[in-house]
């Protein structure tokens, strides 16, 4: 079977909306419900965060949400349990995103096998450098049909981006600015120049912009340059303050997908 990420980007070249949320948040067993509601509301891709005690690349919103999820009792083992029947209810691509240590502790091979078993399509591990990935992880990822999505930033040299483009990554995660998640919102002229530079490279791999995308204005702006954009912190804020989860999810996705 084709990887769902590849299938999606083959069919949909623009305005791909990807939503991130941490597993086990706001309540321990909300993971699958949020996933289902996101697909219903019209999200194209979902990234489920694996909460970690020391999320270095994340700002306050996701850090606090991760802490809450850990207090709720989430673990990688439990997450796979929660996602066991996921593919009965969800057909969009689903990725896991997290830090290397919990995955390493779980066992890389076992992690990949379990990802495949529940129907995960890709993995994002920001603190796993590409060099290490290629040397020690790539074979296991491929064997289990998993895409490893790399991150690039305004400082990433063009040669490295072109090297990534030659490989099979599902998509390239374009970090919008040099900042932790949720630290900045809105898109500056400088950032637009950077996005335009990426667009001009005409990469064969789809690109999605993340970090600092929070509403329909920034989502639509990002989509002028790339296949889509990723929203994390703003979505976490939308679901953390109680109320009906399904309604919160639906309202948020509608709020972002407002036609320009």
């Amino acid at each position: 079977m084709d990887n769902r990420i590849d299938v999606l980007f083959r069919e949909k070249k623009e305005n791909v909306l990807t939503i991130y949320f941490p597993a086990g948040f706001p309540e321990l067993n909300d993971t699958l419900s949020i996933l289902v509601e996101l697909e219903k509301a019209g999200a194209d891709v979902v990234e489920i965060g694996i909460p970690f005690s020391d999320p270095l690349a994340d700002g306050e919103t996701i850090e606090m949400a991760s802490q809450k999820a850990l207090q709720n009792g989430i673990s990688l083992k439990l997450l796979f349990e929660q996602l066991k029947e996921m593919r009965k209810y969800v057909s969009i691509p689903v990725l896991l995103m997290g830090y290397l240590n919990p995955v390493y502790r779980y066992g890389i091979e076992q992690f990949c096998v379990d990802c495949k078993a529940v129907g995960i399509d890709g993995v994002i591990l920001p603190d796993l450098p590409m060099r290490e990935y290629r040397k020690n992880y790539q074979t296991i990822f491929h064997k289990n049909g998993l895409k490893n999505v790399p991150l690039i930033t305004p400082q990433t040299p063009v040669e490295r981006i072109e090297e990534l483009d030659k490989e099979e990554h599902g998509f390239i995660y374009v970090v919008a600015s040099s900042a932790t998640t949720g630290a900045k919102s809105g898109i500056s002229k400088e950032q637009e120049d950077y996005f335009a530079r990426i667009k001009a490279l005409q990469l064969k791999t789809p690109t999605q912009i993340g970090f600092g995308i929070a509403d329909s204005a920034s989502f639509n702006k990002a989509c002028e340059f790339t296949s889509g954009a990723i929203i994390g912190s703003a979505f976490v804020k939308a679901i953390q303050n109680g109320g009906e989860l399904a309604v919160n999810v639906k309202n948020f996705v509608e709020f972002v997908k407002v036609i320009k």
Binding site: F52, P126, D127, S178, A179
Partner: protein, 393 residues
């Protein structure tokens, strides 16, 4: 710098055996690449060496004395020397490293310095050099540590540094390090992160070890023979790295690293990362660290804020694995006893961190001919509150 490179030091990719490397998000890659491409060249340049050596001599007061402790020697029936890093300006070995890194930062054209600190010694040493060089300085410190190390907080402020509280986790050194790394991610061009120990992504462990290696270089010059033992405490492991550095290839010298056992290595209230840890990743480095079965990093505990770190530098993880170093530990109580013993026998009040190294003396099977060097990494002024509580208990 010496051309011979010990097999125990980092290889080109920053690995010490299976440990080390640079496990960082792409967001930090540029900063790390910039540092990796330049630091050795800067350190080896004549202008750097001239300024560094001059500051170590005239500003820090190096070489620090190697003091023969007659009364400790009598007590433990061996020949015991103390390397007096406690006499350095700012009160510990930390300044050897901060001078070097701030000079490198200046060479790289950085205008803003950030640092993490536990006990406040590294923060004070960084703030001091920033005052000297007229650079903006922000120090991240866990809120818990801010409360228990008030004199050092005041010193940093008086020196012109801004002290920012880390409010996550247990609010100690690990959390301060997280915040410093986040700050660095958010300031990718003008800021230099001065890491205080031999931890973090390559090339930091290698760079900090080299800047601290002046300790063992002097010990070698100050002795007419090789010692049988070199003893140092380890949190992240910078003073131990400096004390071991030039002895790494002298395999006949036993290197003893003393971890903080807190309430005991068998308890949850400990900071003994080697005794209790497993292989994993912390702050960009593959090393031994304290974690639970889900790979969440656990909160360490020690009476000494400077040893209160859940990981260990990759150099030490490898020295332990290769059996080049002997790893011991000392509990809070043993460290306190050692601190009072040194004070009463020699009139030297040691830092609580260094007291852990002293606490290893009764546990070593010493012979009268054995020559032992204990690295007295810092002085105890900052720990008076803890010592007063002990006297009143």
């Amino acid at each position: 710098m010496d051309k011979h490179r010990s097999k125990y030091l980092a290889n080109e990719d920053g690995y010490y055996g299976d440990f080390g490397g640079a496990f960082i998000p792409e967001l930090l890659q540029h900063n790390i690449d910039e540092l990796k491409a330049n630091w050795e060249q800067i350190i080896e340049s004549d202008s750097f060496q001239k300024e560094y050596v001059k500051l170590l001599k005239d500003y820090v007061g190096r070489p620090s004395p190697l003091y023969f402790s007659q009364r400790l020697s009598d007590k433990y029936n061996a020949q015991i020397y103390l390397k007096r890093e406690d006499l350095n300006h700012t009160g510990s070995h930390k300044v050897n490293n901060t001078i070097g890194q701030v000079l490198i930062a200046k060479q790289l054209g950085k205008s803003r310095i950030i640092a993490e600190t536990g006990a406040g010694q590294h923060g004070v040493a960084t703030a001091t050099i920033c005052a000297l060089m007229g650079l903006e300085c922000v120090v991240y410190m866990g809120a818990t540590d801010i409360a228990r190390q008030a004199p050092n907080v005041a010193r940093m402020k008086m020196l012109g540094a801004e002290v920012r509280a880390a409010e996550s986790g247990n609010k100690t050194l690990k959390d301060a390090t997280n915040e410093a790394i986040r700050d660095w991610i958010n300031h990718p061009t003008d800021t230099f992160y001065v890491i205080g120990s031999v931890v973090g992504p390559h090339p930091y462990p290698d760079m900090v070890a080299q800047l601290q290696s002046v300790i063992s270089k002097e010990i070698k010059e100050q002795m007419s023979q090789l010692p049988n033992y070199v003893v140092a405490c380890v949190g992240g492991g910078s003073n131990a790295a400096g004390a071991f550095y030039h002895f790494l290839d002298n395999e006949e010298v036993e290197l003893v690293a003393v971890e903080a056992a807190g309430m005991g290595v068998e308890t949850a209230e400990t900071a003994a990362s080697i005794a209790q840890g497993n292989v994993g990743f912390i702050h960009g480095s593959k090393t031994l660290l304290m974690q639970d079965e889900d790979g969440q990093i656990t909160e360490p505990y020690s009476i000494s804020a400077g040893l209160d770190y859940p990981g260990i530098g990759p150099l030490h993880a490898n020295l332990y694995t290769q059996k080049r170093a002997t790893v011991m530990n000392a509990t809070d109580e043993e460290a306190l006893q050692a601190a009072f013993e040194l004070t009463q026998l020699e009139g030297i009040i040691p830092a609580l961190e260094s007291a852990h190294a002293l606490a290893a003396l009764p546990k070593l099977a010493l012979k009268p001919t054995d020559v032992v060097v204990v690295n007295l990494s810092g002085r105890g002024d900052k720990d008076m509150e803890t010592y007063i509580a002990k006297m009143n208990s």
